[in-house]
């Protein structure tokens, strides 16, 4: 089977993530595996970042659990298309539960960046925005330009969710920026920062 060549996208993943995180306020951020970790860490290593550095398919539901526990705080998921696809049923669960404070940002380079840039399904006709809408997400967006990104920022940060945006970016990894990778450390640091309690 041939892998189709894709439309060329011009947005740079790291700039997109930085732009989104500039306005995060007191939002908590849950990242997917791989590039998402590095993109978020390169903006700022915030204690309210939970880096899921080694698990596929869990970012949306980890964030959902936080969103239920912290209803007054915005929870952002920054993840990749492959990571989201590995747990795609989560969108239906979140669509049913309707957490208003949850925004999912999919940085879609249409490739498994961590393992050699193999094409993911999104490069071959799978429409994550459509799946999110079908799952009950009332607010969704496909972002391919800076202007569109700018226009979506209020929905990402403030408007009632659940919200999902797919940001199409160039299929290129950025320089690796290490985030703290000890899970017991980042999880306890995160929990203390968002709850004000120690574990």
């Amino acid at each position: 089977m041939a892998t189709k060549s894709n439309t060329k996208y011009t947005l740079q993943r790291r700039k997109v993530v930085h732009r989104i995180l500039e306005g995060r306020g007191d939002a908590a951020v849950v990242t997917g595996i791989g590039n998402a970790v590095h993109d978020v860490a390169s903006a700022n290593d915030d204690p309210k970042n939970m880096y899921l550095a080694g698990i596929m398919g869990g970012a949306a539901m980890v964030a959902f659990g936080v969103a239920l526990a912290q209803p007054k705080r915005r929870i952002l998921v920054i993840t990749g298309d492959g990571e989201l696809l590995a747990g795609i049923g989560s969108l239906a669960t979140i669509g049913v539960e309707q957490p208003k404070n949850l925004s999912i940002i999919v940085i879609d380079n249409q490739a498994y960046g961590a393992t050699g840039n193999q094409h993911t399904h999104t490069g071959r006709g799978v429409d994550l925005v459509g799946i999110a809408a079908a799952s009950g997400f009332k607010k969704t967006a496909l972002i391919t330009t800076n202007a569109e990104l700018q226009a979506e920022l209020p929905r990402i940060h403030n408007k009632p969710g659940p919200y999902l945006a797919v940001v199409k970016v160039m299929s290129k990894s950025s320089a690796r920026i290490d985030a703290p990778k000890d899970g017991t450390y980042v999880s306890r640091r995160f929990r203390a920062a968002v709850t004000g309690e120690s574990a």
């Binding site: 089977m1 049923g89 399904h121 009950g136």
Partner: protein, 196 residues
Amino acid sequence: MAARRKITLDRRKVVANILKDRGDLLLVTGLGAPTWDAASVEDNPNNFYLWGGMGGAVLTGLGLALAQPQRRVLVLTGDGEMLMGVGGLATVAVQKPSNLAIGILDNQRYGETGMQETHTEHGVDLAAMASGAGFQTTSTVYNAAELKTAIPMLYNTPGPVFVDVKVTAEDQPMILPPRDGPTLKHRFRENLLGSI
């Protein structure tokens, strides 16, 4: 999301209708009621019933469709089973098997565990998910007229085809086909391939 419409179709009648002129169709059924529905029509050696492996019916159908490109393959399964392996829709759409059709008997319930509501009861639209996954042909069926249009799609429209048939949540008597896995497997392969 699909608008709320009245659900009137009886699952047994739907399945009987779908399988009435099945010809040499190969049928894979998901665990629970779809297996009994298929058995209520007849126990056919071209049926492979999943009695377990929740979330695996569609992908079992995909592997079979790829192996048997000249034969039509139909997966009949329930909404809960489909949801448990819903990423499989993306995998199927990428493969574009022209001989594979998927029919969901969507009673919006987990029938095996006490009729708890599934996500489809709360607005999740499986046909739209399939469409988002890349299926070119999808449909949601609520009544007999729509079913009549959908059945030829299951058999003849180039696949992958996805049809979500909304059925009532009434409990039906269990009609149990053979369930010994090795027996089912041998029977299916011997009938299809001439050897096990």
